[in-house]
Amino acid sequence: MRALELTGITKRYPKVVANDGISLAVEQGEIHALIGENGAGKSTLVSILYGFVQPDEGTIVVGGQRRDFKNPTDAIAAGLGMVFQNFNLFPELTVAENVVFGAEPGRLGIVDRRAAAAEVSALAERYGLQVPVGKRVEHLPVGVLQRVEILKSLYRDARILILDEPTGVLTPQESEALFAVMRSLADAGKSIIFITHKLDEVMAVADRVTVLRDGRVTASLVTAETSPREISRHMTGRDVELSQRLGRGEPGEPVLEVEGATVELDGRTAVDDVTLAVRRGEIVGVAGVAGNGQDALAAAIGGHHALRAGRIRIAGTDVTGLDNRRRRDLGFTHIPEDRHVVGSAPLGDAVLNLAVGYHRSAPLRVRGLLQPKRMVEHAERLIRRFGVKIAGPAVAVGTLSGGNLQKIVVARELGHDAPLLVAEQPTRGVDIGAIESIHGELDEYRARGGAVLLISSELSEVLNLSDRIAVMFEGRVMAVIPAAEATASLLGLMMAGVPYEAALAEEAASAAEGGTAR
């Protein structure tokens, strides 16, 4: 009997058909990958599977029984367990409390703490998932958190585990460990569906793969019988090439200089004695697993965190004590990580969102007064130049798709044509067309002499765009190396804390054994 069978799942939204007649089958003990680009419909399908959303058409059959999931409780009851991208854990509760939450052992409404701890320990033992049962979740490392998430599902007797982009927050080495766990769970009879957009993961661990594109299944393959190239062709409809880089000259003088910067947050050292520089006409990429100090570094460069030690210079001027406004006056621009919360005013229109930052000087402000007509023209000009798909400048930007809103943010920041740009996760959650467009803009900006500090947890993005690459781990810069010398596995080792020399040595060793290429 099949573990799970979906037939003809369709979900329509006002502007788009997110899932169009999707059918997929998963056997017991099978690891099944679901792959597709951003916007292909993976998230919607998973939402349906977990009961967050109801399909318009189609059937779900679990273990031979037809099911209708009205909410996550139904899905849990049917034996599905979901491990989310953004961990759904309670920071101030312990590991045991997190695992048993909602299904706590005890009588008369009182929680039996000891039984909870014992049960969770036993479960962890059985599946080889090491976790500190009695510790509060809030300070635990990411790899452990993921195991807690898996335990949550196992505690509820999940027979089918769904992992949503599980390696997004892991180093390559931690991902390997996760794959080992997945294999042992599969051997124990669990079925695993895992969603990803990374080809190498599919090849590494999946038995079968279903490819989604624009809401439809374009292929259902056995991984042993296919190749990354074939899968990617089904994903995108064309052969994917590395973006061509524009020719450029030698980088010029430094625009951003960070010297020995240290930032303390909540009693922890978030940025630890970081030194790096970005010169005119170059892109310096910062690779690292999310949460290793990149955010704090970007915020410190922007003037939002004070430095405990060290200094920062922008265009030659020491900005260490200056606030964000003065730094922007000196040529600092910033694409923040979160376009909704920090990058825009979603309730405001494009005119407002694009005028910010330009509103203090001519031509938008003349003799102390703002010029509304010029603000509109300015917005229209930027919309045209950056190819934002929007009905008109007076539309609220919160209604735009992720890619288009990101283009607004990019347009506003790059529109200054300022010397320095700090870009954080510039293409996260953005459709592939917009990704290419934004990468092109960054490339052209560099060609014009711009300096970019590119912070991204997408290794491919960092490798494709950067001239030099810095790796951050626990707030420190492990090394800054020329892009030509960087490979995913070398970077991965440093991202996991292996010092540069040791990482080089290990690279050489595994290359000798015929190890992973880029």
Partner: protein
């Protein structure tokens, strides 16, 4: 969703017509009707005929002498609302209007008492004192929030009660021993803000001859004083400030999304302090105008009894922090107030009925909104009642709380 626009689109008549239509069928109109219906039910419950009651309310507030009274009341209410707009539009929950208004009134009367015989100059100086006092009282919560963290919402409110007690005490000190009422001495004749067209003046006499005794225009000319003009000027000035100044623009952006504003170089603390100073200062000015133009002395508890300060908050919320909205809502609320008093005379109903309608209108307006109105995130804990799910949208990730990562971000 309706966007917050900066560019004037009003040139196009078709767009204008569509906007008027939207307003008529929109949230506010429906809410007003709903409130009237709800109160109508209440009236029936206590044995009154809602139509009679509402009819009397309208008649008592929009015709003849009633209209003039409504206009008179609108002046301080709209003025105070305009003052508070500077805060609310910037996302600062300034609930201390009561205190700022009162402290300004006290400062102006004390100054006026010290400057008898100085005429217009004295009035101006007294008003300036009101502005200064109100601004100082308003800025304190801002300073506390910016330097230490406790939110303006709470500290401004606490300062209200402290201000009321403090002013009451000062009045008790200033009270003339012979007098029986709890009030400051009365200000000199030449420091009183005069009517627009006083009966004694030439124009006033001419009007008195040409028009009927109960003619609205005549009553208005004699009943309204120069504060009317001041408030109109304030409305215009605020519209200009919001649309045409960089600070006004930045305040608006901050009110829409404070984190965004901070990230693009808008100095949050400067916005908070400036908005509070302006709000407090204008509230103090209105306090001065009321004292110098109405009772000519400060009575203990006078300002609380009018309820202007709290009503002004409702007006700002109903008018969506826009000056024109404040004028319309302020007039509407004053109309309810005056009408309520009329109802008290003719139907022996508590005038509180007016404030019930007012609060219900706000309540219903807020209910229709699916998206939270301009909010100032409390520094200590933003208590959100979100369930985290918006089913209309295509998820770009599986639903879960936005910043749910338990990884301590570096």
């Amino acid at each position: 969703m309706t966007a917050v626009t900066t560019a004037g689109r009003r040139r196009d008549p078709a767009v204008l017509a569509r906007r008027v239509l939207a307003a008529l069928t929109g949230t506010v109109t429906v809410s007003i009707l709903a409130a009237l219906v709800a109160v109508g039910v209440l009236l029936v419950a206590i044995g009154q005929n809602p139509f009679d009651v509402y009819g009397a309310l309208v008649e008592g507030s929009l015709t003849g002498r009633g209209l003039v009274t409504t206009l008179q009341r609108s002046v301080p209410l709209v003025g105070l609302s305009i003052a508070l707009i500077y805060s609310f539009r910037a996302g600062v929950f300034n609930l201390g209007g009561q205190g700022q208004f009162l402290v300004g009134g006290l400062a102006s009367v004390v100054t006026a008492l010290a400057l008898p015989g100085t005429g217009i100059a004295g009035i101006v100086v007294a008003c300036a004192a009101g502005v200064a006092a109100g601004a100082a009282w308003g800025v304190v919560p801002g300073v506390i929030q910016v330097t230490l963290g406790p939110p303006v919402l709470v500290t401004s409110l606490l300062l209200n009660y402290i201000g009321i007690a403090g002013v009451s005490y000062v009045i008790s000190l200033l009270k003339p021993p012979a007098s029986s009422e709890q009030a400051t001495p009365t200000i000199a004749e030449d420091l009183k803000i005069g009517a627009l067209v006083p009966a004694q003046s030439d124009l006033g006499a001419a009007m008195g001859q040409a028009l009927e005794r109960n003619d609205v225009l005549l009553l208005a000319a004699r009943g309204l004083n120069w504060s009317f003009v001041v408030v109109i000027l304030l409305v215009v000035a605020t519209i200009l400030f919001n649309r045409r100044t960089a600070t006004g623009f930045e305040a608006g952006v901050t009110g829409l999304n404070g984190a965004f504003a901070r990230n693009v170089g808008i100095r949050g603390s400067r916005i908070v302090l400036t908005s509070l100073a302006i709000s407090g200062g204008l509230a103090g000015l209105i306090g001065a105008l009321v004292v110098l133009g109405t009772n000519y002395r400060l009575l203990d508890g006078q300002f609380e009894a009018t309820g202007y300060a709290m009503t002004a908050i409702l007006v700002v919320l109903l008018g969506r922090s826009s000056p024109v909205g404040a004028v319309l809502a302020g007039f509407f609320f004053s109309m309810l107030q005056v009408g309520g008093e009329e109802l008290n005379r003719t139907f022996a109903l508590s005038p509180a009925i007016a404030s019930i309608i007012q609060a219900l209108v706000i309540f219903f307006v807020v209910l229709r909104l699916g998206i939270p109105v301009v909010t100032q995130r409390l520094r200590k804990r933003a208590e959100a009642a979100a369930t985290g799910e918006r089913v209309e949208e295509v998820p770009d990730a599986v639903p879960g709380p936005r910043d749910n990562s338990t990884v301590k971000e570096g």
